[in-house]
């Protein structure tokens, strides 16, 4: 079994977001980058399939050389090999198209993406990739179990979940719930040492088109101070919510 896990390199969740070059570009100065949390859930599931069934796990990212630290981390967590497509992507369509060209070279039974990246929040790469490859995509995947050749799956929907079956090949959008938080793998020394020996291949993009371009960025306006209400004055709070904020 061949599994491809698509990894997005994103600013740590505590990062302050700033822009430079006249608000046209993200300012990465002093920002710590991490594996996109949704992708980490997906990678953890892939490693489980590797340990249980001997699946071969490849991680891939579309990005410049600064993304290699994250790929090494994935290798230390247990991925067998890594690919970096050397392109600073403009949009999710471009990422998906680059990933599709990788999937056309090697046959993957399962391609794992994250539900969305926490930087550009497109929520689109997995769906576009699958549709380009003409294979099914399951969004918001919170369960993936193997039952012989069949897959038992769940998708989180608004107010509940949907229970599905599928066969390979398949693309999923992983998210929290797919694995337990406590099962996330923290690389140990041995993993880190082994990762240095594992292959990390750099390839040039074959496709360059993007469908959209970000023109500029802006930060939200500063918020005014909180209006405090005395704990004894619940009527005061209700009055404010009803007559000032008009939300109840």
């Amino acid at each position: 079994m061949n599994i491809l896990v698509c990894i997005s390199n994103v600013p740590d969740t505590t990062s302050k977001i700033n822009f430079n070059e006249n608000n046209t570009s993200f300012d990465s100065l002093g920002v710590q980058f991490i594996i996109n949390p949704n992708d980490e859930f997906g990678l953890t599931r892939a490693i489980w399939l590797q340990q249980k069934l001997g699946a071969k796990v490849t991680v891939v990212t579309v990005g410049d050389s600064t993304c290699e630290a994250i790929l090494r981390k994935c290798l230390a967590i247990g991925a067998d090999q890594a690919i970096r497509i050397d392109l600073k992507p403009q949009d999710g369509f471009q990422v998906a198209s680059c990933l599709a060209s990788i999937c056309k070279k090697t046959e993957y039974d399962l391609v794992i993406t994250g539900r969305e990246s926490i930087d550009y929040n497109g929520g689109m790469v997995g769906a576009i990739l699958a549709t380009q490859l003409k294979i099914p995509y399951l969004a918001n995947c919170i369960q993936l179990e193997l039952d012989g050749d069949n897959l038992n799956l769940q998708r989180e929907i608004d107010g509940g979940k949907e229970i599905l079956t599928a066969t390979f090949p398949l693309v999923i959008g992983a998210q929290k719930g797919l694995v337990e938080e406590k099962d996330l793998i923290i690389p140990n020394m041995r993993g880190i040492m082994q990762a240095r020996q594992k292959p990390l291949e750099v390839v040039s993009p074959e496709i360059n088109a993007c469908n959209s371009l970000v023109q500029n960025y802006e930060k939200p306006a500063e918020k005014g101070p909180v209006k405090l209400v005395d704990a004894e004055d619940i009527d005061g709070l209700i009055d404010l919510l009803e007559n000032e904020a008009k939300v109840i």
């Binding site: 099914p136 918001n140 500029n216």
Partner: protein
Amino acid sequence: MTVLVFIESQDGVIKKASLEAISYGRSIADNQGYNLIGVGFSIKDSEVLNSYGLDKLYNIDTQGDYYFNVERYSSNISSIVEKEKASIAIVSSSADSRYLGPVLSVKIDAAYLSNVIELPSQYEPLKVKRSCFTNKAFNETQSEKKCTVLSLSSNSFGLKEKQGKMEVISESYSNLTNNLKVSSLDKATDKVSIADADIVVSGGRGLKGPENWHLIEDLAEVLGAATACSKPVSDMGWRSHSEHVGQTGKPVASNLYIAIGVSGAIQHIAGINSSKVKVVINNDPEAPFFKAADYGIVGDAFEVVPTLTEKLKARKKI
């Protein structure tokens, strides 16, 4: 030219998020002199659409199959996009809409832009404002394609009524299939989901344990609100994963967000920041949430919340 809106329904009843998407579409159509058409699947209450200025509705009979099916839906919609020469297709930000949007974009060779929060500032090429970095920032994005699929962030535009008379057309349901098959749904039908809610009541670790969640549920019930929680609360299994909101959980863009015993960590705030009015109840005046909130009470949740619930109940009775 034409603007198309995907109209989502549950058991035949149109969802509020779709009415917002139609309102948004109507404004574009009015600005640009376009036609506004909708595509829905087994909609039963289509008359309400006359109040939102839809010109034409394609109502596709799914023959009793009420599961959302991304293949079949997107294939139906893409043929209508072609037939009607639509240049803009709008979906909401519900789970199904955000599933459908990017799949549809490939089938109709369109750009896909999610988290849209305003009307386009320019057409041809289309330019629109979107949120990014989980609401820590915004950007303006330009579509490089003739056709664009927009996913509208919930509660960012609101409902705008406009009377009209629409034509209703039926179309046969696409029979496209693939290896992905839904076997059942597990849905709490009596509960308001976070995505649909105008008001969300959220509890954090300050509530001490799952046995105290009646405080949250009672308050939510009198407000007709959805319930939510912080990440550690769902990690510890006090509440289900589906209630976890924040940067790595669900985004919340409600009109009112009430946070009880939640400290207001940056990852939590990021996910709920696009809610319009934020109220915090916390016994620590130094809790970071007070910096992000509009209204606050420094006090013990175990005292404040029951009183609030009682008073709201009494007010409802008048």
